[in-house]
Symmetry: C2
Subunit: 207 residues, 2 copies
DNA sequence: TTGATACGAAACGTATCCGTATCTAATCAG
DNA sequence: CTGATTAGATACGGATACGTTTCGTATCAA
């Protein structure tokens, strides 16, 4: 049996020589995602990413074999810190979630990411799959959880299609952020209006 | 932007020499829009456009000073043949409009155009303005007309925000077409479901 | 017929970018 | 210290694309 390093048995023996910088890896992924959202896959360049990350180009190609592999990893590493709100009511949960999304969009590149991805997904199916699985799936799961809980509590009708309601809640918000460049505060305000209208419907009461 | 010789003067006055081909101009704009939707602004090339249009590259640069000017004109020349339906009820009008949009998306490049534009608008404000004015504005006006008429007829509540309801009708449809690659028939079906849910709301009736 | 212009095709110059190779300095284990 | 590897910086080859120019041909008015 090989001699194990000090109090570490599950890790393999270290390679000789200077180890790779973990900080460089993080800064590369961050810069790559930023440039991707800003300029798109073709508009960005590896040299820009290297400059923004403060590394050399060779350091990037030592880790990823190609530009495409780097971007796929960068999009996949992009996680949103969304939590499932629990305010006691479906309406409150929806409001809290919209508030979370608005805060996140103003403090991280997640907002512009969707607009950029919408276009890139047309030409890049693999990127589309990664983004849908990692980001869209996560977001839809949270909304679905809120809706299902509201149905179980009797606040929401039991015959509604959860998947459809998710689209009706998320779709207008994304549509607004894509078309207009709405200010965060305005988005939050219209979000409340959206939720109330979705809950009440738009048909006139009979007589 | 595009000015033919002596266009402003009377139709009698003509420039000497061979006149420019109007057919070449149309085929260039059509090819440019197609390549733009397919590959994006950076992904397309003028040589591709020229080849697809069956013209020489110089013929393009004789009319437009740059790639950007060409694409701006191509997007601006893109008009949708949407008509305001009049079925007698707001619900019927909405269904008819969704049907129109679905048919249009399967027979023209308008569907993929929005996905592509969503990404390109991030980096190109001028293109965003043209697209919003020409396409989005036209589409929203039709939906707004339907909703206003429904309010006047007493089918829809009078206290709803027309702009918000437009977003609630168009947003989910666009969101679905962006995220999923839904088949046209499925989109039409879920469109009917969407309209009914929007009309009725999702809140459970009080006891 | 003549002159002027547009036409498609193709070559050209310039620039950019991907991915590789090379250089010297820095960082680890033994 | 020695050897191995990574670090950033930079040059390079190949490819691509924008925009210009040239060339011979075609199309108009006079």
């Amino acid at each position: 049996m090989l001699r194990l390093p000090n109090e570490v048995e599950s890790q393999e023996a270290r390679a000789p020589g200077r180890p790779r910088s973990a900080e460089a890896e993080r800064s590369i992924l961050t810069a790559a995602l930023d440039r991707f959202i800003q300029d798109g896959y073709l508009g960005m360049s590896i040299e820009q990413v290297a400059a923004q990350a403060g590394v050399g180009k060779a350091t990037i190609y030592r880790r990823w074999p190609s530009k495409e592999a780097l971007i796929t990893d960068a999009v996949g590493s992009f996680s949103e810190e969304l939590t499932v709100p629990d305010t006691g009511s479906a309406r409150g949960d929806m409001l809290a979630l919209v508030s979370q999304i608005v805060d996140l969009a103003s403090s991280s590149p997640s907002g512009g990411c969707f607009a950029r991805m919408a276009g890139e997904m047309v030409s890049n199916p693999e990127l589309a799959k990664v983004y849908k699985d990692k980001v869209i799936g996560h977001r839809r799961a949270i909304v679905g959880h809120i809706i299902t809980r509201g149905m179980e509590r009797g606040e929401l009708r039991r015959d509604i299609d959860v998947d459809l309601v998710i689209d009706m809640l998320v779709g207008p918000l994304l549509y607004r952020s894509l078309i207009k460049r709405a200010a965060p505060a305005e988005t939050a305000n219209s979000g409340a209006h959206l939720i109330d209208t979705l809950l009440a419907g738009i048909a006139a009461p009979l007589h």
